[in-house]
């Protein structure tokens, strides 16, 4: 059976969920061979094996943390040479897309970004993408070289599928470009204790209607009652009420949770681009004409300062 390279996104050995989803998709095409780089690379093996990796290629060097993108491209290229895979899958983060693109160029392949689904096809993997602010769905294929495909979070279910997960050292020699862009400082994001926005099953968002940084506590309280992540519209982010890392939309994160609750958000096309594929959509907005209501499964026309706290209380009561 053909092998499929899966690039592992991990933090000091802790594998992030989108990588496990990639393993599910990779198994539809062939046998997953994972590539884990940097600090803690070998610690990823047990989790990866549990989810179907037949092999885990690892390499650690200070270059991965000290320089931008290119060292990882060099390593993935080495893995590509070692394995000759049927496809290369990479999580669709900003960095993942850059790594994948440079790899594709080097190996003479095409690249598809932001796939939301992947199936085996007679002529190679077929990727589903959601385009034009999620108003169209396309099916595409890479027609030259080894398909390189980046896949968005929440595109497949994480499945246990125990496999050997044999750890092998990958041998990597860095290119001249590897040390071109130096990382001179790094400030890790502070953890909020809430789920990761792109991975969360429920997202509760606030927009301009929240009207002030201090009022976001109402949104956070609702999120916490549901174990949800907190999102924000660009208007709320630009006003300085909530951090940019929480922005949902075209220039923020795209999310596809089971439930999306939009509060005081009008539903501009650029916001819809990032949330339109959510399974169930709910909105609270005092303007009955707001375009967000075109998307909702359930909408409340009303003042969020009345509706949201009542909802939070009711959820807490029902949950006991």
């Amino acid at each position: 059976m053909a092998e499929v390279l899966v690039y592992v996104d991990h933090v000091d050995g802790a594998v992030r969920k989108p990588t496990l989803e990639l393993l599910t998709l990779a198994r539809r095409i062939g046998e997953p061979v994972a590539v884990a780089l940097g600090n803690g690379a070998a610690d990823t093996a047990a989790t990866l094996a549990e989810h179907g990796a037949v092999k885990v290629l690892t390499h650690d060097a200070s270059e991965y943390a000290d320089y931008l993108v290119v060292p990882k491209v060099d390593a993935l290229q080495a893995a590509h040479e070692a394995v000759s895979p049927a496809a290369v899958l990479v999580p669709s983060s900003a960095e993942g897309k850059e790594i994948a693109a440079r790899l594709a160029l080097r190996i003479g392949s095409g690249i598809i970004t932001d796939a939301v689904d992947l199936e085996a096809g007679d002529e190679g993997p077929v990727a589903t993408q959601s385009v034009f602010a999620a108003s169209f769905t396309t099916k595409s294929r890479v027609v030259k070289g080894t398909p390189v495909i980046t896949v968005k979070p929440n595109s497949a279910a994480v499945e246990a599928a125990p496999a050997a997960g044999a750890v092998e050292a990958l041998s990597v020699s860095f290119s001249e470009q590897a040390t071109g862009t130096k990382v001179t400082g790094r400030t890790p994001r502070e953890s909020t204790g809430r789920p990761e926005l792109t991975e969360a099953a429920i997202v509760v968002s606030g927009g301009r209607g929240v009207n002030g940084a201090e009022n976001f506590s109402i949104i956070e309280a609702l999120a916490d009652s549901l174990g949800a992540a907190v999102g924000a519209s660009r208007a709320a982010v630009d006003a300085g009420w909530y951090p940019h890392t929480n922005q949902v939309g075209q220039t923020g994160k795209s999310v596809s949770p089971q439930l999306y609750i939009a509060n005081g958000i009008s539903g501009a096309i650029q916001h819809r681009a990032g949330m339109q594929t959510s399974k169930t959509i709910v909105a609270v907005n005092k303007d009955a004409e707001a375009p967000i209501f075109e998307l909702v499964d359930f909408g409340v026309v009303g003042d969020l300062f009345d509706v949201v706290p009542q909802l939070t209380e009711e959820i807490k009561t029902r949950k006991g």
Binding site: G110, I111, T138, V142, K144, G185, A288, G299, D306, V307
Partner: protein, 261 residues
């Protein structure tokens, strides 16, 4: 010597209009209004600021696109760029990211550059990979997705806000930079700027000027193929209630019915 800045800008269909596909499954660029991608306005803005801070600098805007893409160049010139290059060729129709990066890289080399500045992503394709591809082709550092950027003494420095951390980056020129919409509000063209833009030079190059064969680009040269497109089915109309004091409870009832509570 003068600091040569090349800004890559894309002409895209207006996102607030009705975007769709042409019969050959490429993005329809004929039947819809186009404009300078809003995300590339941020690149033009940062280029102008870097130029203003340098003793001597020249800002060239570069686009690869159809006839109408001149509108995008005009807008950038009226914001304050010095000159423009339009790469236009019938054989370019349907070119993918890999092909676009080839055309851009050749044009950038021909124009001469110290810094290339791009947007974070085009608003139609939204891949966000062209700057990395151009850097790979030019063999120079990529300093991408910056929310803050400055160029001093032949070095570009910036801040990249990632998911896990915010990073400070540094590279020697020449380099390829891309900036996000967090890098600072883009200026509006002034009346004076709009008038001045009419007199600024716009060069037109085709594939032969860049020693690129027709087979290397276009729909036939593409490394990827769109096989099917379908309009997303409209969401089924939901229930909308007016809050008359029980809105929060009604919403809770709906969520409970859907097993979210």
């Amino acid at each position: 010597m003068s600091l040569r800045i090349v800004v890559t800008v894309k002409y895209v269909p207006d996102a607030t209009g009705d975007r769709h596909f042409a019969d050959d499954l490429t993005v329809d660029r004929d039947d819809v209004d186009g404009l300078l991608s809003e995300l590339d306005e941020y690149a033009v803005e940062q280029a102008l600021q870097i130029a203003e801070d340098a003793d001597d600098a020249e800002v060239t805007v570069l686009t690869v696109g159809p006839e109408d893409a001149k509108d995008a160049l005009r807008k950038a010139l009226s914001m304050g760029a010095d000159k423009a290059i339009h790469v236009e060729d019938d054989d370019l129709h349907g070119t993918d990211a890999i092909g676009t990066s080839l055309v851009l890289a050749r044009a950038i080399e021909k124009a001469g550059y110290d810094v290339v500045i791009s947007g974070m992503a085009s608003t139609d394709g939204t891949m966000g990979v062209v700057p990395a591809l151009v850097a790979e082709r030019l063999g120079v550092p990529q300093v991408t997705l910056l929310s803050e950027v400055c160029v001093e003494d032949g070095v570009v420095k910036g801040r990249r806000d990632g998911d896990a951390a915010s990073e400070r980056l540094e590279a020697s020129l020449p380099a390829v930079v891309s900036v996000t919409d967090q890098s600072g509000e883009a200026r509006y063209p002034s009346f004076k700027g709009i008038m001045a833009a009419k007199k600024k030079p716009v060069e037109s190059w085709d594939l032969s000027d860049l020693d690129i064969e027709a087979e290397e680009v276009g729909l036939d040269g593409a490394f990827t193929k769109v096989e099917a497109v379908a309009e997303r089915p409209a969401r089924t109309a939901g229930t909308i209630v007016k809050d008359e004091g029980e809105g929060g409870k009604q919403l809770a009832e709906f969520l409970a019915g859907q097993k979210f509570i």
